[in-house]
Symmetry: C2
Subunit: 630 residues, 2 copies
């Protein structure tokens, strides 16, 4: 079978763009440098970034009127694909065009667009996205940097009031950035109006820090050492009134504040919500990296032999060991699942952010929630999968020449940046528990207990993809009770939906019951339950995306393989969580045991397709070069 | 409460030595260099190694008559403690004194000891342990390097017959080693006698490769970049007859082969068995590194605040979040458990290797099995725990200045070297299934199916520590059936024993039943079952060690804390594996749910002791310095 038929399904809506970007990637082979000093690596990445700017790819996500491509989904997809190559380059490009450029485009207005977008796209103006402070990372609503309006001079004065308010971990800050989008509490007329974004020049044309700007270097990191993360401290730095990115809030010359959104919190979370592309891109890049790791491990696993089988002269190919199959095949299945979910997510993002009219809040929040959930699950999956792939290659897996340790080190922080996963999952749960009502985006998980206590929550399972198909499948799910049901898609989806509903309702009941006491205690005691609710929700959303992908697959053979792979995704998920199903009477003991057997069986069945499955990722060959593969 | 009372229990038999080594470590502060080039890092480590040689610590494990300390257990313990500091230094010292020196001592005879041991201890003769080949790592019985005896010249001719026979990943080979213990198939009189070890000079005094020896460099690795791993190819390299380390097999001048052990396989595995210290040391070092990671994460978790609790002006300390406690506290409990198991293991090793008479084979094999099992579990635990600790420190955790990513990178290979964990667990299972009978050490897992088919295996649960106490506890285990039993030690131990027996018997039955067909298929289909058997066995052995440690604790307060910690070890193990207990009718659904609640409760209860628990590891302060801790 030709992997092409699977690639078509994986490629989805932006198939043509993917093909183009892959071609470009393999021609330029933005390959990883090894064993460079931090400084040399940074130089190398900057150099590659300039090359990338020339391809025009980074323009995709910007508005056409300023020379952009006006293709939001496409811009995320092309960023995702950079995740196949050097990840410092990927992150640095994300900082420049996604975070910095994105903030100017989405939080700024015409004046900013006209003045800066073209220079940003060209990398003529390298910039930073300076949100996180030493003291506040997850809880960005409480940032402490201030921007105080001075009506006399019509300037904002940017200040770092104390060391914990120093901007920290900021990409592009330590070496290359000329300007930063700085998030700070806007103060005017003695009143604080919450966090807003300001364009603050930080270096002159010679690359020297501007007066009042102190720049530090985060130094060596666990990975991504081609990115110059740094620290920014502001000592009464003055910027003109126009430095305020004023789409969501503005200050008149006399200092009067105005905004289309009244509540400070709501305004800030609306701003954050528009910046969601970064989070989605990281999720996609994590999956790209996992795909590359799996492709390397499968190729090695198919050629590496160890130990003789009795009576066989040739040694056993390690991928023929069931234990080895169990390491890699369920991971491949889940990677496909997440890939499809990512594709659905990007499609939704594109639809919502390209819409002519205002999108209803419910959809916007649902999108944010999905982005948070898939980002968390995809990045944890990448962390785990790359680690497994490394171990699956034995000693060879530990050599930098075989790429896997590099991937592990570089992707490690994906679970933390663009939102810490544990915090993100709480955001997801909160959305579900409050049915995306007010304040959904208030990231403080502690607020949750209050909301839940206040509201009678009806948990609605909203299907997110292939709604009709899924309805049909679920309705047709067999009532029969033999092990055959394990492989029935309708039964599987119904089981996932049922789990989600049950966990969520239990969680809501528990929070409500406890809400009479200390709200923090109430919330805290249920925190593991809250996290489970988010997890099983995402599992279901991901399954739906898999079903939708199979549905649009037109090749019979490919569809057959995808069906088996989907079974493996479902059954290994069931296997991991079978205690829950047993505890809640959803599976009998003997059915639970047959789940284990079914996973073994599927591993054996899919073994011959392992290579096909990873070939279908269509990773450009230069990125699959490794010493161990000869 | 003073952590000292816990430290005493953790320190165990070699308490005094531990105190001394810790003092030395903190004075010398073999601290980690950051951002060095590979070459500079190697130079730094070699330099430190010379300093270490001067402390006399490396002499501990060698025989007194050659200037050693004659303290086998002590030598492992002092190596373990090096695991708190720079891990390249730890590994390089392990290569020099543990592997290279150890092989000369344990496989050589008087002539070798007299000639080399003193120079090895002084680091006057830096050496390698060259077992692994490009083509054979786990299956070392099938190494392909040859050592052919030439009676004419009374020399062995060492040869690398093909590229896959090249020695690979060899520590100390790329830069500093002068000599290597080379494992090769001994051929004399045209007959092959299996793998033996030979002392082969590889570089001259100037550090240049000797004629016929081709030396390559493995280059940059995922970590441990201060160790110069390399590759060795031999082109008809001639060494004198005396180069054979001839304790277990010798060749007379005329080429006649003689050995106290007849079977080639058995002889080789006996040789490997004596070399077990390296594996045990890696297990210990992994636990040291996990302890350091946890100490860092707990300190940070106690000072880091994020998000306001409603109605509270101060932000919440992140370790007060249940989710955060769940990341760190069960990991601390398991680390204590593994620490105690390691201590028992070292004691046993010391007892067996210091014995005057020959030790019975059963004990020797049981020791090897325990070493394999604890090495696998401890190194996987370290990998997981360090990753968790990194994530628990958010963005700060990703900076090299905060140590965690360095620990992660350096320890990553522990799951692979000194035996791949998946292979080791199969060794454990095999020992159990055959009750340590013949050929236990034949690493080929495929041989297992045969043995099991041949033998009626009676699974005997042999208690490994605190036998009397455990017998008493189990006998007194309550028959009563309320949730209180969850905290009854006797009930807990009985449950672990019962699980082990059941899994093991099921495994044996399955293998026997299937043995009529293709033996590889039979084995392969049951491989996940086999691995489970090993895992639950080690879990039980580790629990016994915990019980024994509590038993010897004389301080009431400390004992109270240890009892809670042991409960947490047991209950989080139950929680993870509760599907099994449910499937096999060992826990009811409601009991299983109370296990989850009990873990939450224990986390809350132990939260105030978190700092105490990691302080008790008594890690020298220089190793707990981190930017994030101020
Ligand atoms: C390499 C790198 C690049 C970065 N680039 C940028 C950039 O360009 N611009 C920028 O603005 N920022 C950047 N960041 C910052 C990044 O976004 C933050 O590190 C991230 O948001 C996490 O915040 P934190 O580090 O403060 O962690 P914290 O919020 O302090 O979290 C620490 C730990 O506490 C836990 N925790 C926190 N709250 C809760 C809760 N309510 N319940 C349970 N557990 C909780 C978390 O799970 C985590 O384990 C970067 C960071 C890194 C490491
Ligand atoms: C940094 C480093 C330092 C080292 N130092 C030394 C040294 O100084 N001297 C020395 O001699 N060696 C050294 N080694 C080699 C090390 O001991 C081997 O890498 C290790 O034994 C694993 O062997 P392998 O790499 O051939 O893996 P393989 O045996 O090829 O294993 C590859 C994969 O196949 C799987 N697998 C293999 N067999 C089975 C099976 N039967 N069932 C299921 N799965 C299976 C494994 O789990 C693994 O995931 C070092 C290695 C490294 C990376």
């Amino acid at each position: 079978m030709n992997p092409e038929a699977l690639t078509v399904v994986l490629d989805g809506q932006w198939a043509e763009l993917r093909r183009e970007v892959r071609k470009q990637l393999s021609e330029n082979a933005y390959d990883e440098p090894r064993d460079l000093s931090t400084e040399d690596y940074r130089v190398w990445v900057l150099d590659q970034l300039h090359k990338l700017a020339k391809t025009g790819q980074p323009r995709l996500g910007f508005a056409r009127e300023y020379g952009g491509g006006g293709d939001i989904g496409g811009s995320v997809v092309s960023f995702e694909l950079l995740g196949l190559g050097d990840l410092s380059l990927m992150v640095k490009s994300g900082v420049q065009w996604g975070l910095f450029g994105g903030a100017v485009q989405l939080l700024g207005t015409k004046q900013h667009h006209e003045r800066y977008l073209s220079r940003i796209m060209d990398l003529d103006l390298p910039g930073c996205f300076a949100m996180t402070e030493t003291g506040h990372g997850s809880d960005v609503q409480h940032l402490r940097t201030t921007a105080t309006y001075d009506p006399e001079t019509r300037q904002f004065v940017i200040d770092t009031p104390d060391p914990s308010a120093r901007k920290d971990y900021i990409g592009n800050a330590a070496r290359d950035g000329r300007m930063a989008v700085v998030f700070a509490q806007l103060v005017t007329g003695g009143e604080s109006r919450g966090v807003h974004a300001f364009l603050v020049p930080i270096r002159n044309e010679l690359g020297e820090p501007l007066p009042g700007v102190e720049i530090g270097d985060c130094g060596r990191k666990g990975g991504l050492n081609g990115v110059d993360n740094g620290r920014l401290t502001f000592r009464s730095v003055r910027v003109p009134r126009e430095a305020l990115l004023n789409r969501y809030g503005d200050v008149a010359e006399d200092g009067t504040y105005s905004s289309p959104i009244e509540s400070d919190g709501r305004r800030f979370f609306t701003m954050l919500g528009t910046l969601i592309r970064g989070r989605i891109s990281v999720a996609g890049a994590a999956t790209s990296a996992a795909e590359r790791a799996l492709a390397l491990a499968v190729r090695y696993g198919e050629q590496r032999r160890q130990f003789n089988a009795p009576g066989d002269a040739e040694e056993v190919v390690v991928l023929d060991y069931r234990a080895h199959q169990r390491k890699l095949l369920p991971a491949i299945a889940k990677t496909y699942a997440l890939h499809f979910a990512q594709e659905e997510l990007v499609r939704k993002l594109h639809e919502i952010q390209s819409a002519e009219e205002e999108v209803d809040e419910h959809s916007q929040r649902e999108l944010e929630s999905r982005a948070a959930g898939i980002k968390a699950m995809a990045t944890w999956h990448a962390t785990k999968t790359i680690q497994t792939a490394r171990e699956a290659c034995g000693g060879a897996g530990y050599l930098a020449a075989n790429v896997l340790t590099v991937l592990k080190a570089d992707t490690d922080v994906f679970t933390t940046f663009e939102g810490d996963n544990t915090v993100l999952l709480q955001l997801v749960a909160k959305g579900l528990l409050t049915n995306y009502r007010d304040h959904f985006s208030d990231l403080s998980p502690l607020a949750m207990a209050r909301f839940v206590a206040e509201q009678v929550v009806e948990t609605v399972i909203e299907r997110t993809a292939a709604r009709k198909v899924i309805e049909r499948l679920v309705d047709a799910a067999p009532g029969r009770d033999d092990d055959g049901v394990l492989f029935d898609r309708g039964w599987q989806v119904a089981l996932f939906e049922d789990r989600e509903k049950h966990v969520l309702e239990g969680c809501a009941r528990r929070l409500r019951r406890a809400a009479e006491g200390d709200p923090f205690e109430a919330f805290n005691d249920a925190q593991d339950h809250v996290l489970s609710a988010a997890r099983v929700h995402v599992d279901r959303v991901v399954l739906e995306a898999f079903v939708a992908a199979i549905e649009r697959c037109e090749d019979d053979e490919a569809r057959g393989v995808l069906n088996q792979l989907c079974d493996l995704y479902v059954l290994s998920n069931l296997e991991e969580d079978r205690a829950w199903f047993l505890e809640h009477g959803r599976l009998t003991a003997s059915r639970a045991k047959s789940v284990i057997a079914a996973v073994n069986e599927l591993c054996a069945k899919l073994r011959p397709d392992a290579r096909l499955l990873v070939d279908a990722f269509a990773i450009p060959e230069p990125f699959l070069r490794a010493e161990m593969l000869g």
